[in-house]
Amino acid sequence: MDVEASDREFTIPVGPQHPALKEPASFLFKVDGEVVVDVEPRLGYNHRGIEKAMEARTYIQDLYLVERICGICSNAHQTLYAMNVEEVAGITIPPRAKYLRTFVHELERIHSHLLWVGVAAHEIGFDTLFYYVWRDREVVLDLLEEISGNRVNYAFNAIGGVRRDVPSEKIPKFQKALDVLAERTKYYHGIAASESTILERASGVGYCSKADMLRLCGVGPHARASGVAKDTRHDHPYLAYDEVPFNVITNDGGDVLANVLVRIGELYESVGICKYVLDHLPDGPIREKYSPLAKIPEGEATNMVEAQRGEDIHYILSKGDNKPYRYKIRAPTMANIPSLMVKLKGGYIADIPIVLAGIDPCFSCTDRMVFVDESKDKVWDMNDEELRRYGIRWYQNGNNK
């Protein structure tokens, strides 16, 4: 870098604590005036060792631990975990459970997308819209509370099915609430597509082309906003998605506005799916028998679901015990970080919050351990055997004193 350029450039830290980030993550922005030249992301402030903790707990205990990976996609992670365990254990869940899981999965998507629209409005300084959206989000939270007893961590799944049934006399009430949501979504669609200050702040901001998005493997609404028609519900149908009609919403804009429009479009689709599920709810039991102490045969499984933020992948390895031998989680935010960097570069400082928020980041899902030696510029992983030996060596050398 020549002297003149280095004089004008300076570094702005966003995070680990910053009002635009609801969770700790750090982004170092090299800026020239108001323009972002380079970004250096640094994750890992919120690593909680959940994968390791899961190995020490039984399958039933893990069901509630896995839900706590993320407050917003709690049900997506739990559903995925239950699917994985059921696949290894050879349990087929009853059709009614399949539909109920789909129902709660979509309700969670509605609540998450509404939350995101509110946060996005707040990031561009449109607090009035934020308050309106979050007021209407209460409708879906009340619905979830009525179904599961909880507003956020629903604990709706059980291994072999679901924990609670939806009584048929409540269905008309649910339908009515869904109608309210559809109507409000229409209103917000109108605002997002026509309000001039929103258009000024969102259109053309944080652009990522379709080619870049494909190259950097973005997932979820973030990728669909760049025109990549990738949706796990459609590509690898799970639960009841092969029976429920819905559209994959895409937008070729590639900017923040496209993100907003894709998510609002998905709100419509989710309401549609929920209504369809309620209309076609099969009769029968809601779960298969599964003993809390049961051991699960040896085997492994990998499944994925379309969480609100994109494709969520879990891997399970069972060695015939009542605890998983290895559990691996890849939450969607992790996959979206590389394409986020493309979106941030060349933008303005003022656009950082909204572009960051555009992927709906969830860093507590994302954080993981990587070994970095900064002096030697080396990055490596350790497998469990290496890690075990490293631990023994570390304690033998008396480092813990």
Binding site: I12, I124, G125, F126, T197, E200, R201, I349, A350
Partner: protein, 337 residues
């Protein structure tokens, strides 16, 4: 006796004490208006309908620890909040509110030919102090906020001053008191003998008031022009390092500035403290400025925040030409009437 009444009108009414209390009232009105527009309740707890909340906030801030960053430029950092509070307060003394010697007079504490220029000058000095406050804190976010303040000034300062000249041309005076007098007189004249030209003047004045309101939104750092303190972007920008007593002064200064802005708006375009007899001027002043505060709050709740470059472009595309047109219309009208 004249000295005692001068002291009272400077310190108590309609001077410093009244202005500060009135500033807290305006803060409450603004918060309540925005809250109701955003489907919230606003302050509720302190006093009836939360009316004492702004006062409680100031008291709370006064009790908090006052930190000056080690890297900050101490004298400037300490001086800036005082200036930000004192300058708008001084400017309000020149605006006609209410005389304490006569119930139906609104002669200000001081008035002289050219006090409009002084008020506008003090208003610009406030912006300079804001810039210094951000810059002297030696914080990255503070520096970015300070440069944004300076850039925003380039955008709205010229239309703001140009628009103020319009009424001065028609009134034939650069004294705010005389402008208000002229406005009151021409309304009485118009009601006595309506004419087409009277309507034309009223229309031009109202358009001026509307454009002036937009400039004031920028001057007051209200949405959509609050990029200098944008919380989600640069963490309250220029005031990021302030705490305790200094932050209390900044908050109070901001409220006083809102009073000054709405007082200027009413005095220049809406007849100021003048109004039909037998209601005293102070009532008209409070009524008109409170309505102005509500309009400003209403506008600030209705938009998303602009980016600084968008704001500068927007101001030069729309505000500046409109201001020039307004002045030209005023000159033309002053030739006719």
């Amino acid at each position: 006796m004249a000295t005692i009444s001068d002291v009272v009108s400077l310190v108590v009414f309609p001077g410093a004490l009244f202005i500060i209390v009135y500033a807290l009232w305006c803060n409450w009105v603004s918060r309540k208006t925005v809250a109701r527009l955003q489907n919230r309740r606003g302050p509720l707890h302190t006093g009836p309908h939360g009316i004492l909340q702004p006062f409680a906030d100031i008291v709370k801030l006064l009790a908090k620890e006052d930190i000056t960053p080690a890297a900050a430029d101490r004298p400037v950092f300490n001086l800036a909040p005082v200036l930000i509070f004192a300058l708008p307060l001084a400017a309000i003394f020149l605006i006609p509110i209410q005389s304490i010697t006569s119930l139906f007079s609104y002669a200000p504490i001081a008035n002289f030919e050219g006090d409009l220029i002084v008020v506008l000058f003090l208003l610009s000095l406030v912006v300079l102090s804001v810039f210094l406050a951000g810059w002297s804190s030696c914080n990255l976010f503070g520096a970015v906020g300070a440069t944004r303040v300076a850039l925003a000034t380039l955008a709205y300062e010229i239309p703001l001053v140009l628009l103020a000249i319009g009424p001065a041309i028609l009134a034939g005076s650069l004294s705010i008191y005389n402008i208000v007098n002229w406005e009151a007189r021409s309304i009485t004249d118009f009601l006595a003998a309506p004419s087409v030209w009277g309507i034309a003047v009223a229309v031009v004045m109202l358009i001026g008031a509307a454009v002036y309101t937009l400039c004031l939104l920028a001057e007051l750092e209200l949405r959509p022009f609050d990029m200098a303190e944008a919380e989600t972007e640069i963490v309250h920008g220029w005031q990021v390092e302030y705490s305790g007593k200094k932050l209390a002064l900044l908050t109070l200064g901001r409220d006083v500035k809102i009073v000054l802005a709405s007082a200027l708006l009413t005095s220049l375009f809406l007849g100021g403290a003048a109004g039909p007899w037998p209601v005293p001027p102070i009532v008209w002043f409070v009524l008109k400025t409170t309505i102005c505060v509500m309009v400003l709050s209403n506008l600030s709740a209705a938009f998303a925040r602009f980016r600084i470059d968008q704001m500068v472009r927007w101001a030069w595309q729309y505000l500046a030409p409109l201001a020039v047109l307004q002045v030209m219309a005023m000159v033309a009208l002053s030739g006719v009437i």
